[in-house]
């Protein structure tokens, strides 16, 4: 069973937890934001053509097409 329940921690404990965490994070290597955003952008663009919710798929191929009834064309 996980050892702690947050409700039992005092504010002091919580603050100590936060400080230890921040000390760890200070040493992280960070990449440039402009570069990261470019990469996100490229990733999306390369995949967007195969994305059925972005491009849409024809009714015949759509597994969730309207059951029976009329077809609008």
């Amino acid at each position: 069973m996980p050892v702690i329940n947050v409700e039992d921690l005092t504010d002091l404990d919580k603050a100590k937890m936060e400080v230890t965490q921040l000390k760890i994070e200070v040493t992280l290597e960070r990449a440039k934001v402009s570069k990261c955003c470019e990469e996100i952008s490229e990733y999306i663009q390369s995949g967007a053509d195969e994305d059925p919710l972005v491009k849409g798929i024809p009714e015949e191929k759509n597994p969730f097409k309207e059951k029976g009834g009329c077809v609008i064309c």
């Binding site: 069973m1 996980p2 050892v3 702690i4 329940n5 947050v6 409700e7 921690l9 919580k14 937890m17 936060e18 965490q21 760890i24 994070e25 992280l28 960070r30 990449a31 440039k32 934001v33 402009s34 990261c36 955003c37 470019e38 990469e39 996100i40 952008s41 990733y43 999306i44 663009q45 390369s46 995949g47 967007a48 195969e50 994305d51 059925p52 919710l53 972005v54 849409g56 798929i57 024809p58 009714e59 759509n62 597994p63 969730f64 097409k65 309207e66 077809v71 609008i72 064309c73």
Partner: protein
């Protein structure tokens, strides 16, 4: 041709103008990319059968089955193509806030106010009593808010109102690793896509989103820019970023390598909390369910809203895109689940799409049927 131009110019999304003020970095980089224009989303299946609020849902990897759980303790497995119920089980507790499908499709996990996560193997024999084979796996000291199988049926990751997340072995019920760092209830967790290694992200009532190393239990990164509880966290498809939905009515995108927030998805008119978010297959669209009963679809790059889906008659509690990206399912406190797709006219033309969208927006037609 001229009328087409006029219609296109009338149809500028006002939020783009708003956002020039709030431009964040992803949107700056994406300036030259063509905007998506307005989408029309249509509900294609409505799954009715829960007697009470639907709190959680998950897709099976076979892209057609869905498991959902509700306030009255019922957990139902549906075939979304036919809307048939395949299995149903009643949990001994109410408020089943978490449910998940196993990667093999042979079991489901669920839990809530019982503080536990239980695994039910799914039998091919529809008459068999599922509850008989139930296995209790996780034990927390407060409610279970979220659960997820790792890449196999053998391990489950859980998050709880006791402020911790934990990794369990399904067979023995043993605690393999526990994750401490949140200073309030943890509401949601999401595993990184398998190619990117053993990490997961969690979000909670302390407004923080934490990224964890599953093997060491270490909190490797944390993000605190939301102004209220984070209700949902979801990894971006490449694993380099994740999105959050919060009670502060915004969704945000955080980049892991840059270690900061890189985009915010909000509008002045949206004042209710976002309860659930998910990405489309390529990551271009972010689907977010809100407490004002709507689902907003955001263009991840531009930061604009490309569609609103009405139809639910109460809060949307859970939104998930299907594994092959063809549809998304939304679960709501109105006790239904809806599977929706992008509506396209066959032999579609740009002009017709725009005209129809305009008609819908200006007349405020909610549940349009052709």
């Amino acid at each position: 041709y001229q009328s087409r131009l006029i219609i296109k110019s009338i149809f500028i999304d006002i939020s783009v103008i708003h956002l020039f003020v709030f431009l964040t970095l992803v949107h700056q980089v994406a300036e030259k990319i063509e905007a998506l224009g307005q989408f029309v989303m249509k509900t294609r299946r409505t799954l009715k059968g829960h007697g009470n609020k639907v709190l959680c849902m998950d897709w099976c990897r076979d892209k057609r089955r869905i498991v959902s759980s509700s306030q009255d303790g019922k957990v139902i497995v549906w075939d979304a193509y036919t809307t048939n119920k395949e299995h149903a089980v009643t949990m001994p507790c109410t408020w089943v806030m978490a449910c998940a499908y196993a990667p093999s499709g042979c079991a489901v996990a669920c839990g809530g106010l019982d503080n536990k996560c239980s695994v039910y193997p799914l039998s091919l024999d529809k008459n068999e009593n599922l509850a008989a084979k139930k296995k209790s796996v996780a034990m927390h000291t407060n409610y279970l808010s979220s659960c997820s199988f790792t890449n196999s049926d053998m391990q489950i990751l859980t998050s709880s109102g006791d402020g911790t997340c934990a990794l369990w072995d399904v067979e023995s019920g043993q605690l393999l690793q526990s994750f401490h760092g949140h200073s309030a209830d943890v509401l949601s967790l999401n595993l990184a896509p398998s190619e990117t290694g053993n990490t997961f992200v969690s979000g909670g009532c302390d407004k923080k989103a934490n990224v964890w190393d599953m093997r060491s239990g270490q909190n490797v990164q944390s993000f605190e820019t939301h102004e209220s509880d984070i209700n949902c966290v979801k990894y971006y498809p490449s694993g380099d970023a994740f999105a959050t939905g919060s009670d502060d009515a915004t969704c945000r995108l955080y980049d892991l390598r840059a270690d900061r927030e890189v985009a915010i998805y909000s509008k002045e008119s949206i004042i209710f909390g976002a309860s659930s978010v998910d990405f489309s297959l390529s990551g271009r669209l972010l689907f977010a369910g809100y407490n004002d009963y709507t689902i907003n679809v955001w263009d991840v790059l531009k930061g604009t809203r490309v569609a609103i889906l009405f139809g639910h008659e109460n809060r949307v509690s859970s939104v998930r895109v299907s594994p092959d990206g063809t549809a998304f399912c939304s679960g709501s406190w109105d006790s239904t689940l809806r599977v929706s797709v992008r509506f396209r006219f066959s032999g579609e033309s740009d002009l017709r799409n725009i005209l129809y969208s305009m008609v819908l927006l200006f007349t405020g037609i909610r549940d349009y049927r052709w």
